[in-house]
């Protein structure tokens, strides 16, 4: 089982930037169904800066790079997404402080720590219909697997995010702006979960991992 290098992570972040930027309007439209329609714009604003700055920023270590990305989120991302994604990157960066490559276990811990940070920041619980409802099962699945086949891991966690879209669709949102529309948020997908799933599905495509999505939001 090979380590994951800073370059791989950088490349994957760069792909993520493209995904977020390309889906700006779609993500905002999704947020408009029950939230306030700013999710796509908020996130894209930040990832445009990340995309632009990525070649230049401190890459002495994975942690340094992720902390810098966290700071970009703090500076450029409004709405709930700023603190959530900023906290996530910060916590992942703290786990990978000083490292230029990480093991699969460390990668899993980075996600675990990001999740912990987001929970501490926003107080979301299971079923509150937030992106954590995708991240939790992803983390569980990563812990379950041994990481010997990263492609298999990617396919498996993409499937978890994909499932989360439909499993939370009928729930009422309890966090963020969408929580303020009460029942109206039922029967709309959570844009944060769709965002995570879309990013992972794009990773699959990029890395040549076969995956056939089930949720309508990934089959467009």
């Amino acid at each position: 089982m090979s380590a994951i290098s800073l370059e791989q992570i950088e490349k994957t972040i760069d792909i993520t930037c493209d995904t977020v930027i390309r889906n700006e309007k779609y993500f905002s439209d999704l947020d408009g169904l029950a939230g306030d329609g700013d999710f796509g714009t908020s996130l894209a604003t930040g990832f445009k800066v990340i995309k632009k700055d990525l070649p230049e920023i401190d890459k002495s270590a994975i942690g340094a790079m992720l902390l810098k990305i966290s700071m970009i989120c703090s500076k450029h991302v409004g709405g709930s997404s700023g603190p959530i994604w900023g906290t996530g990157f910060m916590r992942a960066g703290m786990v990978s402080k000083g490292l230029t490559e990480v093991t699969y276990e460390q990668l899993t811990d980075m996600l675990g720590s990001a999740i912990e940070g987001i929970v501490a920041r926003g107080g979301a619980q299971r079923g509150d219909k937030t992106l954590l409802d995708a991240l939790w099962p992803i983390h569980d699945k990563m812990k379950e697997m041994d990481g010997s086949d990263l492609g298999a891991v990617l396919a498996a966690i993409t499937a978890e995010a994909d499932k989360a879209i439909d499993e939370t669709r009928t729930l009422v949102a309890h966090r963020g702006r969408a929580s303020q529309v009460g029942e109206r948020s039922a029967d709309t997908p959570d844009p944060g979960i769709v965002g995570i799933a879309t990013i992972l599905y794009d990773w699959c495509k990029h890395y040549g991992v076969d995956y056939t999505p089930t949720a309508a939001e990934l089959n467009r």
Partner: protein, 330 residues
């Protein structure tokens, strides 16, 4: 979408530039953080800051000035400002006496200010965060972040601003914020939706004969969608919800506010005030101060909210104190 807008992306920085252009002696800007602050901040006095989504003007940057906010930052329309803007707002006016951050109770705002407050503290700044949650429309619940902060925010800013101006300590100003927040209640009603410039179409659909009772200032639904009613009936719904919540009782001295949500003209607000004043008299309340106008809007939504604050002599004096902001008549 018919609005006075250039590129919707620049809507917020441009209206802020207008506020600065209109108040060159009073205010200065840090445009990179969508931040406006008072000129000549007095380091011996508590600074009071706020920052939230745009679209609620005059809240927040138009409430900056002597006797009100010391600084404020704006997020995009209806979205919390980035964490850095919040942090910079604190830092830009951090005084020896400390900084009070007044946060209207929304998840996004709270998270941004939590982070900013932690960072400011890490830099050695004395700072306290306070949450305003005066909206009675949606009952508190285990599953939400709690009641929303709406027009009652004005009273918290005004009273705290006056106290800070008079030289109160941070603890004392926080105590004032608590007292106001504990005694202020609001409920709103929308007759139409609003159109966020970047979105370009209405936030929600509403029939030609419908209204949304208990609406939030971002168009969030409240208690119920009902048929349109007369001014007297609507005012009674708002008044009863507000009055019974605290409750406000016979003999209480109150401040009474009818706040326009942006698209309702002055005459209609006074029609509502007229009804509200009658209801207050029926309850046996003494209206010691009143406010009719736009204090916390939802862009150009037609509608209004009714706020009552129970007064004691201390609060009445603080509301009475002079203040100066971008919002003025003469």
């Amino acid at each position: 979408m018919k609005k006075f807008v250039n590129n919707p992306e620049n809507f917020v920085p441009e209206f802020m530039a207008g506020v600065i252009a209109a108040n060159p002696d009073l205010l200065e800007a840090m445009p990179e953080f969508q931040l406006i602050k008072r000129k000549n901040v007095d380091a011996s006095k508590v600074a009071i800051v706020q920052g939230s989504g745009s679209g609620h003007e005059p809240a927040h940057v138009m409430a900056v000035g002597p006797g009100m906010l010391t600084a404020a930052c704006q997020g995009p329309v209806f979205a919390a400002p980035p964490v850095d803007a919040c942090l910079e707002t604190i830092k830009s006016v951090a005084t020896d006496a400390g900084v009070l951050v007044l946060v209207n109770n929304y998840q996004g705002d709270r998270m941004a200010w939590d982070m900013a407050t932690e960072m400011a503290e890490a830099e050695g700044i004395k700072v306290v965060q306070f949450h305003i949650n005066d909206d009675v429309a949606v009952q508190d619940s285990l599953y939400t972040v709690g009641r929303r902060g709406v027009a009652g925010n004005f009273f918290v800013m005004k009273a705290c601003g006056a106290a800070a101006e008079a030289g109160a300590s941070l603890d004392e100003v926080v105590a004032i914020a608590e007292k106001v927040n504990n005694n202020v209640r609001t409920m709103g009603v929308a007759l139409t939706s609003c159109i966020p410039p970047a979105k370009g179409d209405p936030i929600f659909d509403i029939g030609d004969d419908e209204m949304e009772v208990g609406v939030g200032i971002h168009g969030e639904p409240g208690r119920e969608r009902t048929k349109m009613k007369s001014a007297a009936e609507i005012t009674k719904i708002l008044y009863d919800a507000v009055q019974s919540d605290l409750p406000f009782n016979s003999g209480d001295k109150v401040a009474l506010m009818v706040n326009g949500l942006g698209g309702t003209p002055p005459a209609e607000l006074y029609v509502v005030y007229n009804e509200a004043a009658k209801l207050a008299a029926e309850t046996g309340l003494t209206v010691a101060r009143n406010y009719v106008g736009e204090y916390c809007t939802a862009i150009e939504m037609a509608g209004c909210s009714l706020t009552m604050l129970k007064l004691d002599d201390e609060l009445e004096k603080l509301l009475d104190a002079p203040a100066e902001t971008a919002c003025r008549i003469f």
